[in-house]
Symmetry: C2
Subunit: 294 residues, 2 copies
């Protein structure tokens, strides 16, 4: 059975796996990001034998330029317009497909059978990313950047985002944004993981921070549903692991904001694949590139 | 050469035309909406000879249920879940395709060669509608409702929209919304057309009303570009006919809000086809239904 190499380029670790066309994982590895990200990449790829593989799919933290095959991940300062596709092509001798990490997460959820033919995948973590599958196909867009749900502005008078616009969802609902909000209101914990534990334990400011983030996410999800008419949303990422403190207010806010009839059937569920969603999506990308139906 | 019947169901008039595969219009008619909209429809259809036509395409004011072939236009109270597709099918004996009016406008602009392979069409009028063409194909979505740009919420704490949500673009940028804003700030004119004339003549409140609407539209356009990665936007509809008092602040707001790099190349132009865009789009729909490449 044909198999591909799936690679996930994250801001703190790089992961990879060989994935077969029946969606089984044959081998996997994960390497913490070192001072030289290119060395980390070579170290990771070196653990796999390209012999017998038909291609490589990469899901990478963005921004990226899919046509040029380059990436400039916000959290990997050493890589700016880094030619990831050609580097991995030289390391493996295989054709390489590249997409955003959240796009691969959405595609992986779709490929793994979790979802409807059209869906939105959202990754809530240090930033907020998204990916779309429309009518059974990943939708990457003209420049490969479709699905940027974290940079929907839900409050033009809101805080300045690192992207340069104001009031982006990411300024309210990302892990660091919720943590900063809670700390500015007297909570003293260190990070989003602690904030999640505090919210679960009933801390009112922590709960408010999650409710506020969830309401912003709900607006962005509703907006996406109004524009591309999807009703299936899968949410993953480190912050989404907080569970009910995020999903409870998220579902309530969606129900309250729905409006038009076709927006009343939007369902939001947590990913069941954890980080593997991105690897499955990268694998699906590689199979598609090789023309192998899976 | 094959030809189809294109029908445009609006809130005040119904229009139709026979359109040939070379995008020429052979005959056209327009009927003001009477007390009995079904009689208006029959009157309109009766002016065309279905002999020799290969199909019908309809662009209708929404909401609509494309799968069921029914429409419930906000401004046509007598039609609720009205079986428009089957009625027109019986009147003509032809296969009938149905889409939203703004979806047809976008498809018509695309078909007529004005635009890039992926684009957003926006109709700014009594309400605000939108339609998407993605990778050279009209994108209608799961339930046929894709492109609802008027119901993107850009301010969850904003005014209640008739759809039931809050802060929708339509509550700020539609003709009646801009007129209501201006009147609540001392302007005394009757409607959006007068408001447009006043803004062109330099009336400060009228200009502010348009600038406010334009900023809301800019946020919605930027959001759409972030999600589906398009860079071509065509705007039509009665209010868009105001011209520079709308497009000037719209382009300025887009430039100010852009943020991410791939959002900096969004161009917004007025329709060059006026209401014919919707008829061309309905015709393209009918040709697609008949399997005729155009």
């Amino acid at each position: 059975m044909s198999a591909v190499l799936a690679v996930d380029i994250g801001g703190t670790t790089f992961a990879a796996a060989t994935v077969r066309a029946d969606r089984s994982i044959a081998a996997r590895a994960e390497v913490p990001l070192g001072a030289d990200p290119s060395a980390t990449l070579a170290n990771l790829i070196d653990r796999f034998d390209p012999h017998g593989l038909i291609g490589v799919g990469i899901g990478s933290a963005g921004p990226l330029d899919a046509a040029a095959g380059t990436v400039s991940p916000v959290n990997i300062g050493a890589w700016r317009n880094y030619p990831l596709t050609s580097v991995v092509g030289e390391l493996t001798g295989l054709p390489v497909g590249l997409a955003g990490d959240a796009q691969c997460m959405a595609l992986g959820e779709y490929w793994h059978g979790a979802a409807a033919p059209s869906m939105l995948g959202v990754v809530v973590s240090t930033g907020i990313g998204g990916g779309l599958v429309l009518d059974g196909e990943p939708y990457f867009g003209r420049s490969g950047n479709a699905g940027h749900i974290g940079h929907i502005s839900i409050d033009p008078a809101g805080p300045l985002c690192r992207c340069g616009a104001t009031g982006c969802v990411e300024t309210i609902a990302s892990g660091p944004s919720m943590t900063a909000f809670a700390r500015s209101h007297g909570w003293t914990g260190p990070d989003a993981k602690a904030l999640s534990a505090a919210a679960s334990a009933g801390h009112p400011v922590a709960r408010l921070a999650f409710a506020r983030g969830a309401a912003a996410l709900a607006t962005a999800i509703r907006t996406t549903a109004a524009l591309v008419d999807i009703d299936t949303v899968v949410v993953g990422g480190g912050v989404a692991a907080a569970g009910e403190v995020l999903f409870g207010p998220l579902r309530r806010a969606l129900a309250e904001q729905a409006g038009l009839g076709f927006l009343r059937h939007v369902t939001v569920t947590p990913t069941t694949l954890d980080r593997d969603a991105g690897l499955y999506g990268a694998a699906a990308l590689a199979f598609a590139l090789a023309g192998v139906p899976v």
